[in-house]
Symmetry: D2
Subunit: 379 residues, 4 copies
């Protein structure tokens, strides 16, 4: 078993999900030749970082990411910081010869993303971006079905990601914990945070997007900043929808918002093909809905497939429990760790690479630009 | 078009459902050779009967059912009175040579039921009992699937009929409108009212029941009678469950209650066969759930079949609208009228006949007897 | 009881639904003072019209709608012909002083619609358009909830109408039975046929739409015409999506297609307000999904309300059966007939009037224009 | 942080679920003062045990459980062996002063169970039985609601546990991997394996059961033994149903089978109270269905509560991710480990104790006895 020494930068929500992935992958994927070692976690607040390190059993801490990158005992850098620091850290880490696992979205904009791609490609280091929903077994199975041609010619792709956590006017803006509401740190609002997931999955399942027409909205125009106590303009998008054409001739419709009362993380997608359709929903992520036109006419109906088989037919599920027993959200990160480790063994890239993620960034950019100019934009 | 002159006795809830059936059948089943004519409706309260007749366009009224039965211009008697009068009316009607459409349950007990069967069989008159749920298209399709062998060997049959309308202790007992709570008028509580439906469907779909072990309960022991204002013992069963064996070796489990908060008329049934299973639910009666073991393993799942086809594949649905547009509860009665009229054309019995319904009565009797004696009973 | 003599023009699918409405309304709405009389049905093929008249019990037939309009024994004209004849017939009927019940969409375009409005308003005749989904009890209840302020400030409105019946390349184009595929007869494809329903409901529930950005597609570019046997260009839109702003500041997202495999008539709508959200789906039209932020936090969840009460709390349902027993598609037309008759008693307009329906037509026009020019369009 | 040295006996499916629990609890419950240490795993096949130890990072192995029990560096014994060895191991472990975490069911029969209880109580050692479904957050919340009186007086409790994995006649009997089909090793079939779970939850949520009437069935009477290749009689129950009375006056109905085609691990429960009802289903274990009669009449409906809050309102969920992101099956074991460790800190018992589990054993015994004698049995 070869160790893979991890240096984690940032220890918020994504720091937890990634760390859990590192700790569990080998328990469930015994065929792996690498085992992640929690070598160091890095953050600016030494006390808080130490608490995180103690809880999760990291061997050491750092308070300066540049110091972390220089350490010889680190093989891979995991970037969990706000979006506006991804590029600088990733490029430096690549130059230091480290593998990189970067939280999504890749960057603030395509220009940054292109420089990040160039850096990892020049350095020849393994790289991946945590678009974790590709590795929900039901979504991975959707990919299989499409690649096998089960759906036939695709006509429609629709996806949305609906939340309701910023409806209250009293929610403060920005600050350490709420950087997602700060355009300077996040780049955009729901577009980069939520739609980026929908776009990544769509590009993976249905190929490239050629042009978009988008609409964004900021419902609450001013909020009190939680650090300064002063009112300031809200600069992120609270909601974003777009229509698009895919390269394969199908039509796309996407929507994301943080103002959909009753939905917490309702990422849904549906794909309609000439021969079959599929639907999926993050709130019940262990199920795939499937409709096949090949079924006998009288008995056609949407099937609710409980993706919990352990015979090896359903992706990843032979690693877990027995039929009928579901897994959850965190397992998508375990799967990505396992696949990343496998890719090292095999000397192959682990999707989505920085280059893959750059295409999502380009769609996001076209979406924001289309919304701003109220015009169709090519990607 | 031949007229079929109807004389309806009783004009409560079932008087409305049957009358609607008579008025709609020919609009949607143009191949019928008979057309029901609303000749007369009969009830003891002349004013109320007249109001009903005016609303529904009956040509005349009667206040004495014996007078109705004697009328030469009546071809068929429809019995919608409380259960304790079914036998007397039906036997008299048969002796008068009238066809009979009798509301369920057939009678108060098997002995009465046997006399009713003897009467109609001796008279040679067409007869049917309004176990209307046989003619929900999804249920009729279940019958087709079982008869075609799609389910394979049957292992389990389970059904329940759950309501919540008598939970309140303040609900009065008995009286004109609430005869269902009066054992003298109704014979039993949920057993004859609700379980009888479940049993009728089960016998039709899965064959005879050989023995039963039952449990009944009366949760609220005394209620104020709405006519007298006095407290009196509640004599009906509020809830009844039973286990049973079917002749084909499968096991049955049935439950009914009026104390299941949140359920209004939740009649559900599920049948598990070696090769496939089906489920159905009255609250969404236009859907049939279907699971086939013949589907590809990776893609097996329960299908929710929207029974709204109009290609002729799904029973009755070619008569109604277009795919995706559902029908409702009342259509089961329209279907039974249409089938009764068709059976006249063809000179065949219309199921369930009095004789068919007698078997349900016998199961009910065994259930009540088993519950009373806390012992298994043969049917 | 006053008779209201109906003259029906066109006897296709909508001829059936309307006729059923006329025949049933008084059975279930005994308080009505008018009773529709099926005086005459009109169509060009005398034999087929006669068959329809016989089946549905119309008293007479006509083969020329101009003759029908002249008859003194006709009070109201019901227009069920293809869209390109609505204007001519309606204007003539108004001039002849007839009430008009016109199938949707109102017209081929706003200009025609404006002339129709002017005609009925000048003549002072009662008029309504059969946007029947307003009278699904669950949808009517949604309107109540919004008007009562239960949802609070509205942020999002989304609706789609998905079908799959034209996926096959072998489906012929145009001709008598398939006029919906012929732009000359239908005006447009899914926009006027399906989206018009979604728009009508949206305007009713959420107020005016100010601007739109739309995308249309014709997936199969040529089809064989069923009358001529020759290939010709398909001129209708197979799919149409649009984004929009409502006057109240909320965002809208609409989609319609006939290429969504697995969906037959999946009209869904969802509205997200600051305090509550609602969802509805035509495939289970008797249910309303409801989420209230006012519920205790731990117990918040989407409720599936079975709209089958008979206490009078839920619109229309006190007219039908008992709790738990659902109604279906056709009942929306019965409700519209009942409301139309009630509006006559009360001397009030019956919504949606021609004028109401004109606004939907204007949105459709902006949608088609936006799609053609790939630009945002004001309504 | 105090170590708690674990000695695991048996390394099958339950060995994995428990081990995962030991490894994850401290990551997610940072307030714990104890940390489990994977000291040793024990099994008869040294090579296979070593493989398991390597995969899961146990420090050592044993091939004789008696040797394990004697080790001073072991604090707690975890029993994951077939049911017929629970008593002997548990009693010996108690006598050696070890804490015991025993897989369910407690024993082969109440007599064994009573001796086990006596042993742990005499030794004064901490003890618990892995009825893990108590710690599904939705089920734990159901317990809270009942204890708070939200449901009011309980009328009905129904539960079933449906599987389909033994339908095939070709499935072999007994042998190392299939001891659950061998009555000598398992004690019973579905009764001890599946119904025991349903009974444990029911006793916890709804109190004691007083009497039962049960029915069991062995559908396939003979199977080929996988070790000997010879046909032999099947001695376990393939299916078992029972009716019962609870001490609080409510009625119970339970069913379990391995012949319900289409169900993998469908453990469902429903409880109807005078004021509210709840439903839960293992196939979607992160949801609780809830119906409250206190809701406004027009808007009453079953709520589907997505139990994924992180505000602390919903049990356990503040330990995991953010709202909308579900956990899965394995987390129930993590919760039980955490609660066991917390109970050590607090010096309190961890439910269900051996004594709690004995009551479930007694109900199982009454069920099997009732089925055998076809008579009601007191518990």
């Amino acid at each position: 078993m070869k160790p893979l020494n991890i240096g984690l930068i940032g220890y918020g929500f994504m720091g937890r999900t990634h760390t859990n992935g590192y700790k569990r992958a080998n328990d469930f994927f015994p065929e792996l030749e690498y085992r992640p070692v929690l070598k160091a976690v890095c953050g600016r607040n030494a006390q808080k970082v130490q608490e995180f390190a103690d809880q999760w059993q990291y061997e050491s801490i750092e308070t300066d990411w540049k110091a972390l990158i220089k350490r010889d005992d680190i093989d891979a850098i995991d970037i969990c910081t706000p979006n506006n620091s991804h590029a600088e850290i990733a490029i430096a880490a690549a130059e230091a010869g480290k593998m990189i696992l970067c939280e999504k979205p890749l960057a603030l904009n395509p220009e940054e993303g292109e420089r990040m791609c160039a850096a990892v490609e020049k350095a020849g280091v393994a790289n991946t971006v945590w678009y974790n929903y590709r590795r929900v077994p039901a979504v991975t199975m959707a990919k299989q079905l499409i690649d096998e041609g089960v759906l036939g010619k695709i006509y429609h792709y629709r996806a949305n990601f609906l939340q309701d956590w910023t409806i209250s006017e009293d929610l403060p803006q920005g600050g350490a914990a709420l950087w997602r509401l700060d355009a300077a740190a996040a780049g955009s609002g729901v577009t980069g945070d939520l739609l980026a997931h929908c776009i990544d999955t769509a590009l993976w399942l249905n190929g490239s997007i050629t042009d978009v027409s988008a609409m964004t909205e900021t419902f609450i125009k001013e909020r009190v900043h939680q650090d300064t106590g002063e009112k300031q303009a809200v600069t992120i998008d609270d909601a974003c929808s777009f229509m698009c054409h895919f390269d394969n001739g199908s039509l796309g419709l996407f929507e994301s918002t943080r103002y959909a009362r009753g939905h917490k993380a309702l990422y849904t997608l549906e794909i309609n093909g000439a021969d079959a359709s599929i639907r999926w929903d993050l709130h019940d992520l262990h199920r795939l809905e499937f409709f096949s036109n090949a079924d006998e006419g009288r008995l056609r109906g949407w099937r609710s497939i409980h993706v919990s088989d352990h015979s090896g037919d359903q992706p990843y599920m032979d690693k877990w429990w027995v039929p009928g027993l579901q897994i959850g959200y965190e397992h998508t990160f375990v799967h990505q760790v396992a696949d990343f480790l496998k890719s090292l063994q095999e000397g192959k890239p682990c999707n989505p690479t920085f280059r893959d993620a750059l295409e999502t960034q380009e769609v996001c950019e076209a979406v924001l630009s289309s919304a701003k100019e109220r015009a169709w934009k090519n990607v």
